[in-house]
Subunit: 786 residues, 2 copies
């Protein structure tokens, strides 16, 4: 199914497989990431790191193991013929006889055949240990005996990145070789993180990195120059040509890690090598190099660990599954979107195009909603982490780096509101009101209840309204690129108005539950005023204006020749009910007409052809690219909630219009990987209309899941329970969902029927809300006739 020239997904929807005899697409070369890379991150015992990266240098401060201009590679050389190649195609890029790559949750497998030698390279990160494992099985399928040499290659980075000033940084790196372990270790005597006295460049990197192999080596190399040779290249390194490894280590090199093994394979014979790449903390003992290397010496142990990893993901991801007539949707919902959000966004916080490593205040908060469906406790932890990055006045860090706790504060106006937003969603999912009483610290001292943290966030925004009662946009809102709209302290955001309105309304209910009637009343009053003002000032005739500049001019109005209509200003008016029913219909019609295009709902139209210095860098991008009139997928997902609320029968069609797996059917146009969401897709003002970009690290991963569940499958947590209100395409007859809600297992079956009713464990219920807390059974079999 969905087999294309390049790829398909397996029947169980867990793996995406690429087989091609021709040049692979960029995104399938996960290990050898010349231009691209991939995040494999695991977070068992509380740490996580990225082991793959990209040419777009890594900016994560703390523990980047390897330098990523090059990636990490394996070379195999046939010593008889002199041929050499890479089992992942890159960097040698030779034509394979066979080529298949399978990406699953937590692993990638490369199966190739070159010169009659078959290899299977399985890569994954251990569930609990700080180590990445490469299991390389090599089989001689020829009629002759072959002597093979196998080389690995990676460049040590060890700490802050982008470490573009290699001439400076390389002289702080020190490698060693542990003979009995066949293991290269690497440490760094300088870490970019200030020390406890606040001094820069005066602290050791607090880890020992290592790279080992389970068989006796034939040599190793710690010097980049010696491995590549003078003017040598990664595709044709001198070590492969000469066969010489100098066994160099120490502190005077541009440090790499390379191990050489030699094996002889009889016809039909196969052997397996186990490579490790890891790092142990010097402070918090999470295993010694020696203990980790010794632990993973055998295929059995590695296979056992591999099963643990797969089991971990299976267990987590299977807590919420769907079965729909569209296998592509199942593929996305059951595995990949959750995996992308958790692995890429929450744990790795990094990807090809954007390699932050920091926590974005609003970013990982939103992402953590994915855990509501599989493990709400982890949403709770994320909420606590973010609440602790708030100041007493309600303002927050825009982002901060863990470990160093270096943070950045700005005047972007929506950041802080995502705290009550996600808290609200957590509360509706779990009904765990006690959480609100938990005390959490402020960045600038003192502590207070989570409830109070939320109140302060909301108050901050209520105290920053314009004279006519619209929210000040500050240095941008959800859209960072509108960074000049309100610099003088006057510009207003209508999207922020819709967003704030929803929070005021919703949170007033929380206030009531908490007995805080003053805030309850204030929020209700402010909400009404806000709604009135939005409709008084921001209705443009056929849609809502997006914002007003410092000078009062509108953005996203029929008055404008570019940026006439913005998506978020319409979708959130509908989602949060700021609009009347009539205006909702008009606004939705306009959005659909002007913005919902072939490859998804555009952020606005038309794109800016020239920069508008009163708007900001949004208008400086190429027309149609990223926020400048492209599909910005994060915002695109919200259009599904609006479409659903408007009961648009095209809702699923719109959803499908930007589903990666469908877009992957045109790989040469789409370019991006088909199993994860991209950050953006070029809009019609770009000559590359339909080209995806910035995959993996995008807030759309969690939201593209959520809007399918709420907007199409129609399962939405409300205070009263789980509301069921599906909006399937006409041709769907049956859908099944398994999920947990408030501690109970729900097995839901939707069936198309003439009568509409909901039956729970054989009993028809009134309305369309199930509150498991009112029911005795732990397993609820729900039949939904629609």
């Amino acid at each position: 199914m969905f087999e294309t020239k390049y790829g398909y997904f397996t029947e169980d929807g867990k793996e995406y497989v690429i087989t091609t005899p021709k040049t692979p697409k960029p995104w399938i070369n996960v290990i050898s990431n010349g231009d691209y890379g991939m995040v494999i991150s695991q977070s068992g015992s509380g740490y996580s790191w990225r082991t793959h990266a990209s040419l777009n240098r890594i900016t994560r401060w703390e523990q980047d193991l390897i330098k990523d201009e090059w990636g990490k590679y394996i070379y195999i050389k046939n010593e008889t013929s002199g041929d050499f190649w890479s089992p992942s195609w890159k960097p040698t890029c030779k034509e394979p006889q066979e080529y298949e790559v399978r990406h699953g949750q937590g692993y990638s497998i490369f199966e190739t055949k070159y010169f009659d030698i078959k290899t299977n390279l399985t890569m994954f990160v251990s569930k609990d240990d700080p180590v990445e494992i490469w299991k390389l099985t090599i089989k001689n399928t020829s009629e002759k005996e072959h002597k093979l040499s196998i080389y690995t290659y990676l460049e040590w980075n060890l700490g802050a990145a982008p470490d573009w000033h290699r001439e400076f940084h390389k002289t702080f790196i020190e490698t060693d070789f542990l003979n009995d372990l066949n293991c290269i270790t690497a440490e760094k005597r300088m870490w970019e993180i200030p020390n406890e006295k606040g001094q820069n460049w005066n602290r050791n990197w607090e880890y020992t990195a290592f790279h080992s192999v389970n068989e006796k080596i034939a040599g190793f190399e710690g010097s980049k120059e010696k491995f590549l040779g003078e003017y040598g290249s990664i595709s044709n390194p001198n070590a492969l040509i000469s066969g010489k490894m100098s066994n160099t280590y120490g502190k005077w090199e541009d440090s790499i890690g390379s191990l050489k093994n030699e094996i002889i394979l009889k016809p039909g014979e196969e052997k397996t090598l186990i490579y490790l790449l890891g790092a142990v903390s010097k402070k918090n003992t999470n295993g010694s190099v020696s203990s980790l290397v010794k632990k993973y010496q055998t295929v059995e142990k590695v296979d056992e660990e591999f099963e643990k990893v797969k089991d971990m993901w299976n267990e987590m991801l299977s807590k919420f599954t769907v079965e729909t007539p569209d296998k592509a949707l199942d593929f996305m919902l059951n595995n990949w979107l959750k995996y992308q959000a958790i692995s890429g966004r929450l744990w790795g916080r990094s990807a090809y195009y954007q390699t932050g490593g920091a926590y974005g205040f609003r970013d990982q908060l939103q992402d953590s909603q994915i855990f509501l469906y599989v493990d709400p406790e982890q949403t709770k932890n994320q909420i606590k982490l973010h609440a602790a990055h708030q100041f007493k006045d309600g303002s927050v860090y825009h982002w901060w780096h863990p470990i160093s706790e270096l943070g950045y504060k700005n005047n972007i106006s929506d950041n802080r509101l995502w705290l009550p937003f996600v808290v609200l969603r957590f509360l509706k999912e779990t009904s765990d009101l006690e959480f609100l009483k938990e005390n959490i610290k402020f960045l600038d001292g003192g502590e207070s209840s989570l409830y109070d943290h939320c109140i302060r966030a909301i108050h901050y925004n209520l105290n920053h309204m314009s004279p006519r009662g619209l929210p000040l946009i500050g240095d941008g809102d959800w859209n960072d690129g509108m960074n000049a709209v309100g610099t003088q302290g006057k510009g207003e955001s209508i999207w922020l108005g819709h967003f704030l309105y929803g929070i005021l309304k919703d949170f007033s209910v929380v206030c009531k539950k908490m007995g805080d009637l003053a805030n309850m009343q204030r929020f209700m009053d402010e909400a009404e005023k806000l709604k009135e003002n939005i409709n008084k000032y921001a209705w443009d005739g056929e849609w809502y204006v997006r914002a007003f500049k410092d000078n009062g001019e509108p953005i996203g109005s029929k008055q404008n020749s570019e940026g006439k209509i913005f998506l978020n200003a319409q979708t959130w008016a509908i989602i949060n009910g700021t609009a009347t029913q009539t205006r909702s219909e008009t606004a939705y019609r306009s959005a659909k007409k002007y913005l919902f295009k072939d490859y998804g709902p555009l952020l606005f139209q038309p794109a800016f052809a020239k920069p508008d210095p009163e708007i900001g860098y949004l208008s400086r991008y190429a027309a149609g690219v990223r926020e400048n009139g492209g599909l910005y997928t994060h915002a695109g997902t919200w259009a599904i909630l609006a479409a659903s609320k408007m009961k648009d029968p095209d809702t699923y069609k719109i959803y499908k219009s930007f589903m990666p797996i469908y877009r992957g059917l045109e790989p040469d146009k789409y370019l991006a990987e088909p199993y994860v969401t991209p950050g953006n897709v070029d809009g019609p003002d770009s000559p590359y209309f339909g080209r995806g970009g910035w995959t993996w690290y995008t807030g759309s991963a969690a939201w593209y899941f959520i809007v399918a569940i709420e907007g199409i499958i129609g399962l939405k947590a409300e205070w009263e329970g789980l509301k069921i209100e599906p909006l399937f395409p006409e041709e769907w007859k049956e859908v099944k969902v398994k999920r947990i809600f408030r501690g109970k297992q729900l097995n839901i079956t939707y069936k198309k029927s003439d009568e509409k009713k909901i039956i729970v464990n054989g009993v028809e219920i009134d309305g369309n809300i199930i509150n498991p807390e009112l029911l005795e059974e732990n397993v609820l079999n729900v039949e939904v006739l629609f």
Copy 2:
């Protein structure tokens, strides 16, 4: 002379020539800088920029034209045979039939022969126009007619660097093609410099870059992907293989500039193509793209401009020439050191290993001393520029970027003192006391005379002394890497004591001349106290201690097991006379014994094997590398002044021990270019003892010139005039110097003789100081019998 396997310098000492049939050394590939690059900068009309760079990303903010992972390249393809190559060897790296590179002042010439096609590629930057010119002459030396295609390649950067986040930045770049001019233009809609309102990412790059050729093109390419091909490489790009140029331009690409021309050459025939790479300001009209392209259409015009450039350098550099028995010394003094200091340090402010682009307060001030010998007015301008980057309290920026004026302030304690230091040297050279009265602004408002700027700088340091009257080191002194010695506000610097002592003594004379008797007296008193305290607390028995930590422990003492003895603490005691004669002798003997090694005077010994967090990042480098016990050339030069003052007959031998041209005789050990000074050379604690690094951008360029003139040739400007006190090696019989001093031409001939005397225009003078201001003649023929 000095011909080696790799290179030699021409008889006139203006060019360094490399001829080799084998793989070139890294440093000769100036144009195609894969791993290395070179600065060619010109500053005729007041601007300058770098047109070459290196893998070590450029950090200069303002006007980096091209992205420098790759460099800029030319490819030539023989359409009949399909062979293609590069006239600069890189990036195709094919074996040439002939290969010669000549680096002169302001230009480089690559002469190669591949497949019987000879090329001469001459590259230089125009004297007055913002344009780099590549003149490529191609000659068919075969017996057959050949059709050749010629391609150029460069990646646009346009502004802030390191622009490592290409996925973000590329979407702001916009290219166009001007058909009638055969010219690609490139602009950028986003500049990292904040706009006038202080907003980031909201300003256009204020230049138009361009790349043109003087012959009708056969096609052009603006897309990196299309040029290289999917997975293509710079050494084997798809465009060369397929011959296809897509003529793509616009704003949706990873923008490059590539021009393709086709020529047919009969046997013996040659043709010349003229390429331009330039940028014009949109604000200050320094020529339009069109006018510049049209100006350089013919070989005659280009040759005329090339002559202008050579003339400009010849004229400037020939203002001060020497003729000694050592042609290597002449080569360095007459051309390359001045060129390095002016072009690399003062104008380009960038090089392979360190690509700042900023002005360092003390850095370019010291460098500007080079102009005292060829054009003191430019020293004056540099002094004014730096004085204007002082705050009212006497403190200064550590560095700042021109154009943006973004600066960085820290608590490094010697920065500010270099202002009076260089002012003193300017005054002694020129006797222009009027300059002191010139009003110059402070960074934080207000203005004052240059004299007062100097006074404030000195007062700042006098107000930051320790309880026992030694200078506080703050967050480091001359040695940035001692950044933890005085963090708690207690650590003391003995080197700074010597340095300050000299300034106090010398500047008290200025005070007297200015009638400021209060400061005169204060400085004299403070100097005596300081000298007393240094000798009381910092004499270690056989040498001076370098510094005291916050906790009072010494650095650079016999008590220490590492960093026992530091160079600067001895040399400056001698240079400035803080030491008594006896202690000078003892300290010098110790320095010579422990520090003066095979490849120059080490910064200290032994190197730190492990980091000392109470010293700072100096101790974190690999042992023997850079400041950690290597030759740090900047400091190494001062050892010559000390040796000379001690009348050490080995002075010239010590000087020669780190002269690049001699070190280049062992290219495989030294590795660095032999015609410019390196920043450092590995010390004996490194396994690469003798390996040079960080060439071009080093404060040693100007100083290595100065110390030769003052310490060996023995010409030193004093208040009373030019003091003549040579210290030649035993075997030297005759030396000639031509220089200008206080407006008069001095032709000095030194002759070894039994009698010692100095004869000026035929008249023997008393003593050894010539004051041209007391003489009538404009040309002084000076005979020095020594």
